[in-house]
């Protein structure tokens, strides 16, 4: 198999719903690496996001519950108004204060995942209007993970990808519709 990456973390903000739809629908149909997602949204949002995304993939898409084990074939969405963190084997939620105005915060997810999964992690930053995720992505890089950013030119809001490129050492900058196929290729190597 040769696919050393055991978890993929994705962060996005403004324009994220559409970007996530594209990402999930362009993954190979049998893709099964677990994916944890932070999408910024209103604190009182319900689980509509997970239900909408479910239409685009065979993987099981759900809002994460505390201490759920991380298993193949699942997409874990950070619940509105909670931070999503990962430990070695499971996800964990927290209601700590927002980090740079965001809860969930992409940096919180990325940093915890970088520490737990090190080189076995892929971090992806998609469209968004702020700079959340840049620090987390650089931590992923420091810990030996693979870092991918959506090409700002293909992003509905380029600020977040641009901020990540500026701050983190990024391995790949890819157009949105190339990210899914790229992950598919990695798996075949």
């Amino acid at each position: 198999m040769g696919f050393q990456h055991e978890l993929i973390v994705v962060g996005t903000s403004w324009g994220g719903l559409r970007a996530l739809e594209v990402l999930l629908s362009t993954l190979p149909a049998d893709f099964d690496r677990p994916i944890a997602v932070v999408q910024h949204r209103r604190p009182d949002s319900d689980d509509t996001l997970a239900r909408v995304l479910q239409r685009h993939t065979k993987m099981r898409v759900r809002e994460a519950e505390d201490k759920e084990p991380i298993v193949p074939g699942r997409v874990y969405i950070a619940p509105a108004d909670y931070h999503l963190l990962v430990d070695d084997q499971s996800v964990a939620l927290s209601t700590d204060p927002p980090v740079r105005f965001s809860r969930p915060s992409i940096d919180v997810l990325f940093e915890s995942a970088a520490d737990a999964f090190r080189h076995r992690l892929i971090g992806i930053v998609l469209t968004g209007r702020n700079h959340d995720g840049a620090i987390g992505l650089s931590r992923i890089k420091q810990r030996g993970g693979l870092t991918i950013v959506q090409d700002p030119a293909s992003a509905e809001s380029p600020e977040m990808p641009a901020g990540a490129i500026e701050r983190a050492c990024v391995d790949r900058v890819l157009a949105l519709d190339r990210i899914g196929p790229f992950l598919g290729q990695l798996r075949q190597r």
Binding site: L93, S112, R139
Partner: protein
């Protein structure tokens, strides 16, 4: 730009970057062990990822670059421990948080409570009391408050003092009013408080039957038998083992068929404790005590 404003975890964390995460784990465990042995607070079974974040935040605020350095300071300076204590017992909460949960309490749990001559409630991890006041309002409106006693507990004495004052930020009242209405509130929310320069002061009669006290879910035992236990967004900070221990404590503290309410994203699925509770309003994470242990 991000560069001009390096945020919380950047700067000092760099110093740690080459260190093995294993070493870091050892440092964290030693620090928690030291806190337990010296101060008696047991955070050793807290969920690792989030406690590490908080410890790191404290390290940065203290201007030290590693968990070992933080340990040195905590051990020799009790005021540093006080500050850390505040970080470790995060107090974020609000009134009628998750309105649909309070609506379910009102519609589905209250009818059962009505059948008891006297109602005992344990609000564990009540933080600064916003949820306690919410529950008191709800029970008042349902005509049950007079025969209810609410035991509201938290690990942190500082937040309990805030709760006892019953004064909350005026700036929150708009949000709370909306929550209250969505939670099926029967009155006008503003009847419950008087605006003052220092905040919204809630009607003291709401606290008549509330007993605030300090209680540590990790080390302290049960103290009565309850018909309803609320413990929302507290156990997310515990690891699975500690969660199971605390769920045992709740099980043995509940009357037969008593209710247990957890946070919106907490679950008992696939835990040792699952057979001890029966889902009652599954989507709101309200359970009932199952008979057998």
């Amino acid at each position: 730009m991000s560069r001009a404003a390096p945020a919380s975890s950047s700067g000092t964390y760099r110093a740690l970057k080459e260190k093995d995460t294993e070493v870091e784990r050892v440092e964290v465990e030693l620090l928690l062990e030291a806190i337990f042995r010296v101060y008696g607070f047991d955070f050793r079974s807290y969920a690792y990822a989030s406690i590490k974040r908080r410890l790191w935040r404290r390290a940065q605020a203290e201007g030290v670059a590693s968990f070992s350095a933080l340990q040195e300071r905590v051990l020799h300076d009790p005021t540093c421990m006080d500050r850390l204590m505040l970080d470790l017992s995060i107090q974020v909460t609000s009134m009628f948080r998750d309105p649909s949960f309070f609506l379910a309490l009102r519609r589905k749990v209250v009818p059962s409570l009505r059948t008891y001559p006297f109602i005992r409630v344990w609000h564990a991890g009540c933080s600064s009391g916003e949820e306690v006041f919410s529950l008191a309002m709800l029970l008042k409106e349902e005509g049950l408050y007079a025969r209810t006693r609410i035991y509201a507990t938290d690990l942190n004495e500082t937040v309990i003092k805030v709760a006892k004052n019953g004064i909350f930020p005026l700036s929150k009242m708009q949000e709370y009013t909306i929550n209250y209405q969505r939670a099926g509130g029967l009155r006008s929310f503003s009847e419950y408080y008087t605006a003052r320069y220092d905040g919204a002061r809630f009607d003291p009669s709401l606290m008549e039957n509330v007993l605030f006290s300090q209680h540590n879910l990790v080390t302290d035992g049960s103290f009565s038998e309850f018909h309803l236990i609320l413990c929302r967004n507290v156990m997310i900070y515990f690891d699975r083992n500690l969660q199971n221990r605390v769920l045992d404590l709740f099980h043995s503290s509940l009357a037969n068929f008593g209710f247990l309410a957890l946070g919106r994203k907490e679950n008992l699925r696939q835990t040792e404790s699952e057979p001890k509770f029966i889902p009652f309003v599954a989507e709101e994470k309200i359970f009932r005590r199952a008979d057998k242990k």
